[in-house]
Symmetry: C2
Subunit: 332 residues, 2 copies
């Protein structure tokens, strides 16, 4: 390439990375020849030389869980726009696999977005000290993170139910190890106490339709007239559980989901708590690229510590699965 353009390889390199250092005519000429020959700078060689891979990774517990695709999509889109490719990692909800993946990805990327990590805090912290890392949906001091703050939406949900006249509600929980689950459960409990209504907590645990459906019996037995589910999938399962028994929504039970991943794809349309999760993906990548740049500069200067923590707020989207506790006395 350099030879057929009659210049040195250094010049070719500059044409593609620092054209402002060159005479305009040189740039034009070399680019012409390059176009002719279909020449493109060899990515791997560039990477080896500069130490910048132009690649990030997004690691999630389960791609097939509908919460994650929007996050991944936004992350990939933003990274692509900034000239970065995106590696995808699926930990299968397994901390060991997550650790493994992190080790592999570490040497193949400039930085990692770790979504809903199941790893111990100190492991994450250690990794973050060495390499650019941004957490999504995990709140670890000292590590850059963006949190989908569902607490605000959950409080609105409790208020909504209290105003409809519900006296006893139940929180149908998700995975115990999930930060979001802990946050949502606390918000339900605290806000219920504040409003002077009874709140109980029970399992579904697995964020799956079947788990929600199976939880229906316990919900009905509890005497609660409304359920706030850890996520939409569980909520939808409860809807099925009710339909199975010939019970009506919302008359026999008000149901509120979380995440708004099902949109209006249920019938009746599900009242839920919406948080801009794709915003979380975009923001996380933005922060990560910031860290990558800082690190590049820090090599030549001093390390500047920063601890960004972004919380994205949420809000209740009332649709058709909530109403007054009309048949609340069905058990009597």
């Amino acid at each position: 390439m350099a030879s057929t353009a009659g210049v040195s390889t250094a010049t070719v390199s500059r044409v593609f990375s620092k054209p402002h250092l060159l005479r305009e005519s040189t740039v034009v000429h070399v680019k012409e020849v390059a176009a002719q020959l279909g020449y493109v700078p060899h990515h791997t060689a560039q990477a080896l030389s500069t130490g910048r891979l132009g690649t990030i990774a997004v690691v999630v517990p389960d791609i097939a869980n509908p919460f994650f695709p929007p996050v991944i999509r936004a992350a990939q889109g933003h990274a692509y726009g900034a000239g970065f490719s995106t590696l995808l990692g699926d930990t299968d909800e397994d901390p060991a696999k997550e650790a493994d993946l992190l080790a592999t990805l570490e040497q193949r990327t400039d930085g990692i977005v770790l979504v809903s990590s199941r790893l111990p805090e100190d492991v994450v912290r250690r990794h973050a000290r060495h390499r650019p890392l941004v957490l999504v949906n995990r709140d670890i001091t000292g590590v850059a993170r963006v949190l989908v703050d569902s607490a605000a939406g959950v409080r609105q949900a409790v208020d909504h139910l209290a105003e409809l006249g519900h006296q006893h509600i139940t929180y149908v929980s998700g995975p115990d190890s999930s930060w979001s689950n802990q946050q949502r459960r606390s918000a339900v409990l605290e806000q219920s106490a504040a409003r002077g209504i009874t709140a109980t907590v029970q399992g579904a645990h697995r964020p799956e339709h079947d788990a929600g459906r199976a939880a229906t019996a316990e919900i009905l037995a509890s005497g609660a007239t409304a359920a706030i589910a850890f996520d939409d999938t569980i909520a939808q399962g409860i809807l099925s559980g009710m339909a199975e028994r010939g019970l009506a929504i919302p008359d026999d039970l008000s149901v509120i989901g979380c995440d708004d991943i099902l949109a209006v794809n249920t019938y009746p349309p599900l009242t839920t708590i919406r948080s801009r999760i794709s915003e979380a993906g975009r923001l996380a990548v933005e922060m990560l690229l910031q860290l990558v740049e800082n690190r590049a500069e820090a090599d030549a200067g001093e390390d500047d510590r920063m601890e960004p923590r972004h919380a994205l707020t949420s809000s209740l989207i009332p649709r058709a699965t909530t109403g007054p506790p009309i048949r609340r006395s069905r058990k009597g």
Copy 2:
């Protein structure tokens, strides 16, 4: 590393790539020192040297479309097992972006799995001639591909409806540019003709809940007593459209989806056509890695042309949204 272990870099290299060429004791010793120092072979340098990136890409039209995550998941899992990382590309259903992505990914991967490509045949063919490429859900002669053959399942669906007594059914179509859509439509039309029942075709076009819901009016107007939808999302939209009108499933309309991505997450549980789509992801990667290996060998030998075409079969999963056309005369 080499120096502290008292060997040459060549030996260190061999310890990690061709240990069988070395004395057992040398391997053990070098590995010990490596563990001590936390040394790991530099991936990018390896890649530059060998020309093997250890990376593949999976390109899909839309990560958020629930059809794709299982494919991606299986592909990533299988690639990971074989020591390959997976880059993810989202074309946003845009052929221009798809072409762009392909060009970028081409130099960053050993090969690409292209799912539901929207690109012209010759563009895909040209790419496949130069680099390992496997298509999923696109049938282009001369290019390795794995097809989710929904035709078999669709024929079963038509038979199922005919046996229930339906005389007029409608196919609610998906994206016109989709290979799957064409295949499914043809299968509905042909099998209906074979069974001597009437089949009409109408739009939903976009594979979205709302499009399905909006299609309900036309379905009812058509006089059809059963609908086979391009996919589960559209089918679910039809379910909502019917519920909205206070009409019953399956009495007022039998509905069959396709892809089984919703599993039993609807109520009533959706009769649908299942194809092992995650199997498609796994198989595609398997074929791709085969191509990558072949190409590596072909460099030193002769190119061996092969044209693998795998069709994964499908079958009807009867659940609760199909039944006899009880109120078929509702319009009279």
